[in-house]
């Protein structure tokens, strides 16, 4: 537990930050004298490759945890008996759910990481993505479970440190770290509460089915509320790069009063 989850979880963002800072520093050294437009368009091509690698890395690590939890539950209840395989529908449902989640929440995260934390340029994007992909793929290779989000955030912080004159908004980083610390106990509380509610309906027969349906309805309702709340001030391609309000440290773009967004 400590060796395979907790230590890697704490060390991986630091390793990623060091790696990305080193990469960024030398990228700008090597490309000195190249015209800015040429540099950015060249590295934009590179970003297509590195972003693909991050997706692959994400699949080798994060996606497996979701599938693991569901398969574990199926094993525990006797609905699945093979120890060396995962039911196909579990893989499909997890892949669809992760893709849907990225589709729904992606822009907000892109804005926080790429505009709020550090205002990154294409070369920094390549450095951050390749160090994320390398850290995650290497960790997957050794069987370490870690968070793609933590690694990617460490990488982006690193690119801010590695480029001379770049600004890292440490308040944004602090907010994110607070969020990470909160999610662990919050997930435990929600998981426990939902379990108690479901169990109140009974543990076998029609009662357990009703319990499961009620649990599902509660989670769907909460998820729907969060989604609708985020739609109130939607972030998309039109405002993802709008000026960042340094005072609030939230992803919320300025309401369009003066044409900034």
């Amino acid at each position: 537990m400590i060796g395979k989850i907790i230590l890697p979880a704490m060390a991986s963002p630091v390793v990623a930050a060091i790696c990305a800072a080193t990469g960024t520093f030398f990228i700008y050294r090597v490309t000195a004298g190249v015209a800015k437009r040429f540099l950015n368009s060249g590295f934009r091509w590179g970003q297509i490759g590195t972003a693909t690698l991050v997706s692959l890395a994400h699949g080798t690590n994060d996606a497996q945890k979701t599938m693991g939890v569901i398969t574990l539950a199926l094993l525990a209840t006797g609905h699945w008996a093979k120890f060396d395989g995962i039911p196909f529908w579990v893989k499909l449902v997890c892949a669809l759910a992760i893709a849907l989640g990225t589709y729904l929440g992606g822009w907000r995260i892109i804005r926080t990481l790429g505009k709020g934390l550090v205002e990154i340029e294409s070369p920094q994007g390549v450095a951050a993505e390749s160090s994320s992909a390398a850290v995650i793929l290497a960790s997957s290779h050794f069987g370490f479970a870690l968070s793609t989000t933590h690694v990617a955030t460490g990488s982006i912080l690193g690119t801010g440190i590695g480029k001379r004159g770049a600004e890292v908004r440490w308040r944004v980083a602090g907010r994110m770290a607070a969020g990470w610390l909160l999610t662990l106990p919050a997930a435990a509380v929600v998981g426990g509460a939902v379990w108690f509610i479901g169990r109140a309906f009974g543990t076998s027969g029609a009662g357990s089915v009703a319990g499961a349906l009620v649990e599902f309805a509660i989670l769907l309702g909460l998820a729907g509320y969060i989604y609708l709340r985020s739609r109130k001030q939607a972030i998309g391609a039109h405002n993802v790069n709008a000026d960042w309000d340094g005072d609030t440290a939230t992803a919320q773009p300025q309401l369009t009063t003066g044409g900034v967004a």
Binding site: M1, I2, G3, K4, L7, P8, A11, S12, V15, A16, I18, C19, A20, T22, G23, F26, I27, V30, T31, G33, V34, A35, R37, F38, L39, G42, F43, G46, G49, T50, L53, L56, T60, D84, P123, V126, A127, S130, S131, S132, A133, A134, V135, L137, A138, S139, S140, H141, F142, G143, F144
Partner: protein, 106 residues
Amino acid sequence: MSAVGYDLKFALETIWKVGLASLALGAGLPVLFAAGIRSLAWGSGGEAEDSHAKPSPIGKVLAAVIFLVVIYAIVSGIVYVIATGKGANYDITFKHLIPEIYKKVN
């Protein structure tokens, strides 16, 4: 050694390895890619260079070679991860330039 002690030792050794591999590939490859962009600018000249220098064809050749090396490294890295991942019964050799996958003999 206690279970926790063994766990810690494993974690620290592996974090060290992950760090080295990441530095070599995660920082090394983008810097190599940057060298490719540098050469391409050298080869293109004019608008591509702050100095508006004349294009030199060697730059383009050099850029092509560097980009090929980068692509080779990425593809072999992916093949390596797939072939040797947990649960896979394969190993890989780079003896001849093109990575070869073979079944492990137990």
